[in-house]
């Protein structure tokens, strides 16, 4: 039941607190008895029929008033945001310019591979499932066998793949709002009903949208941002300024490193080994989950080693995927996305500081890593293409998956614009230093226990990992806590294993492994500390083993 200033309703009379009703009844009886000693208010019709129902109605009114007052009071809302009504919290916080971020449904493209070149129809609303979550086709799509048959917006051409299958692409939308519905490129998404000649299906590229509606607790945390001036000044002001832009509503965790922070290296560009300020490294997690996108590129052949072994190279400029983390799964355009891809032999990062406008002070690769100025040259080994007719310098089309977080370039442009830029400092927007996390655990159950919902458990685990703020540690207890929400009886969780891989800004890799906690080492000279690192995990990074290891109690 919604309770708001504009929609004030009496609480359902069966949902009152029994203790409240009886306390009020006793008080009413006592007061009425004092007022009129000749009435029998210990028992009987006056008490059990008249006073009782009055107490029920009065309790309902008082309950509503308490909720109303609690919701109107910031102190009460902050004391327990879960008790306050959403509508009332919206109205109260709107007084301070804080607006709740509404959730959105994830949507994206799905590639369906068929084993034969035959036309099929996927009707609107056709259901798909991925990781236990449901999606539906956004309209009716028809796979056509020839380009001449493609006329309407729902017609899709079947493209022959190197594995003998034929692929076409459709658009789907999540059943409900939430970030857990976001799929990355290559994630399997399975039709709920049979499709003729179906071989496989997967997300073509990272889904767009797919955000959670802000909870009351999250909204309260933003209250200070509503009160703060929206300007690039101190940390609160800066986050408040960024929150003002709806386009960046997917941004979650942020860390702002500046003067006095050990991680700040850009303000030491002097012959003296001291910090002189005036530099800001603003680490922005553009969205909760890792974004994995598929892009096409033209690569150049640089060497041939054998009949089917050739080395190719391509470069990504700063606008290819600003702030990206890694390139992986390079494959030919005709190869299925389910292929593992070719081996990358070189990832040579750099910075491109050309162009118009204000440019931050960056003097080496590490300082510009994961920023909008980062570039790279990728070299990989193609072990499939026939090299007989190739010569060095030839070009060919490939596709690759690339990971990162969105909005790095857009926010950098905004921060660097003359209207917004601090006249005394240069601010560099960076994606957080990534720690890619793999989680493994075992669920022990008795033979008679129901199978746990593994997909839901995996989603809960990556939720914990991806929501961890800039605190420098991922504790196993938080993961176990999430898992325990899905199990009951004597079911237990054991063999927790956390494995982390930090790709440092200088390109080196640090591995973390622990059964208890992943703790980020304090290496400010490498810009790796709790202020710079964020944990990322995808559904494929979580392994949940279920075994019937507990004897049935007799």
């Amino acid at each position: 039941m919604a309770l708001s200033f504009s929609d004030f309703e009496v609480t359902d009379l069966t949902q009152l607190n029994s203790e409240d009703v009886n306390q009020l009844l006793d008080r009413l009886a006592t007061q009425l008895q004092e007022l009129n000693p000749s009435l029998d208010l210990k028992r009987g019709v006056f008490k059990d029929t008249l006073a009782y129902y009055h107490a029920v109605l009065e309790t309902a009114i008082r309950t509503n008033l308490e909720r109303y007052q609690s919701a109107r009071s910031l102190q009460q809302i902050e004391a327990d945001p879960t008790l306050a009504d959403d509508n009332v919290v919206n109205e109260v916080l709107s007084n301070w310019g804080v607006v709740r971020k509404e959730g959105t449904k994830a949507a994206g493209s799905v590639t369906i591979e068929l084993s034969a070149n035959t036309s099929v129809v996927v009707p609107a609303g056709f259901a798909f499932e991925a990781n236990g979550l449901s999606y539906t086709a956004s309209s009716t799509f028809t796979a056509r066998t020839s380009a001449a048959q493609v006329s309407g917006s729902g017609d899709r051409l079947l493209v022959a793949l190197s594995n003998g299958n034929f692929a076409f692409v459709i658009e789907v939308e999540a059943e409900a709002v939430g970030s857990q519905y976001r799929l990355n490129s290559g994630d399997l998404i399975i039709p709920d009903r049979p499709i003729a000649n179906y071989a496989t299906s997967y997300a073509t590229s990272t889904f767009t949208e797919g955000q959670n509606t802000e909870t009351n607790a999250e909204l309260i945390n933003e209250l200070q941002l509503g009160l703060a001036a929206k300007t690039i000044s101190n940390r609160t002001n800066m986050r408040s300024w960024l929150r003002e832009y709806d386009a960046y509503s997917s941004v979650t965790n942020q860390s702002i490193v500046g003067y006095g922070d050990a991680e700040m290296l850009r303000d030491q560009h002097t012959i003296f080994p001291v910090s002189y300020g005036g530099r800001v490294d603003w680490y922005v997690r553009g969205q909760e989950p890792l974004q994995r996108t598929t892009q096409a590129v033209t690569a150049t052949l640089i060497s041939i080693a054998g009949t089917n072994e050739s080395t190719w190279q391509f470069s990504l400029g700063k606008s290819a995927y600003p702030g990206f983390y890694e390139v992986d799964s390079i494959r030919r355009e005709v190869d299925s996305a389910s292929d593992s891809g070719f081996e990358i032999t070189l990832d040579d990062r750099g910075n491109d500081l050309t162009g118009e406008g204000f440019l931050p002070d960056i003097i080496n690769v590490a300082e510009g890593a994961y920023s909008a100025f980062q570039t790279t040259t990728i070299r990989f080994l193609d072990t499939v293409s026939d090299t007989a007719s190739l010569v060095v310098g030839d070009t060919a089309s490939y596709v690759y998956d690339i990971t990162g977080v969105p909005h790095i370039s857009e926010i950098q442009s905004l921060v660097s614009s003359r209207d917004h830029r601090s006249y005394a400092a240069d601010a560099l927007i960076k994606a957080p230093v990534p720690c890619f996390v793999q989680v493994t655990l075992t669920i022990n159950k008795a033979a008679g226990d129901a199978e746990p919902d593994v997909d839901a458990i995996k989603n809960a685990i990556i939720g914990v990992v991806n929501q961890t703020n800039f605190i420098g540690r991922l504790d196993g207890s938080r993961i176990l806590d999430a898992v325990h929400g899905f199990i009951q009886n004597d079911i237990s969780v054991t063999d927790l294993d956390l494995f982390g891989r930090i790709r440092r800004p200088d390109g080196s890799v640090q591995y973390l492994r622990d059964a208890d906690s992943l703790v980020v080492s304090d290496d400010p000279e490498k810009m790796v500390t709790s202020k710079t690192v964020q944990f990322f995990s995808e559904i494929s990074d979580v392994s949940v083993n279920v075994q019937s290891a507990i004897p049935t109690a007799t």
Partner: protein, 162 residues
């Protein structure tokens, strides 16, 4: 319908309750009307043994757990009728004996030793039970702590006419 009325003097020193079942006569059987206020009339108040009797009747006829915030109040007597358990007079007696225990516990729990003896519950005996079509006719003798001795005080009415 003749309405018997007590006098103000009879109510001296007693606490009163609203009359829930109106129309009682000094001798003989009559069907009472369950109403706090009869059409065109004022409500009435009562005291003494009649207060106890109506407490017992209300307790007996209230189904257990039907009062949301006082789930222990009431008995299973009417519940048994609703469930179709009661098919013979013997069934009524057995169900009544169960219900009377609950009623006794509830009624005595809200009494104190300082209350007038004729307003305090001792027992209620089912004297006869007759099933006739969809009607059950029960004769119950309610006994207060005062025992057989009692003074019946009729309801006190206030004229509704102005």
């Amino acid at each position: 319908m003749t309405q018997y009325s007590g006098t103000v003097q009879e109510y001296q020193g007693r606490t009163i309750d609203a009359l829930a079942f109106d129309g009682a006569v000094p001798v003989g059987e009559v069907q009472l009307t369950q109403a706090l206020v009869l059409p065109g009339q004022s409500g009435a108040v009562t005291t003494g043994i009649q207060k106890l009797v109506q407490r017992f009747v209300i307790e007996l006829l209230t189904e257990s757990a039907s009062l949301t915030y006082q789930p222990k109040r009431g008995t299973t007597f009417i519940t048994a009728f609703r469930a179709g358990i009661v098919r013979t007079s013997a069934d009524i007696f057995s169900q009544y004996s169960l219900a009377e225990l609950d009623a006794r516990q509830n009624l005595q729990a809200e009494e104190s030793n300082t209350d007038p003896a004729d307003e305090r519950y001792r027992s209620a005996e089912l004297l006869s039970a007759v099933l006739s079509g969809d009607t059950a006719q029960l004769t119950i003798r309610v006994l207060s702590v005062a025992g057989e001795s009692r003074e019946v005080i009729f309801p006190l009415r206030v004229s509704a006419a102005v």
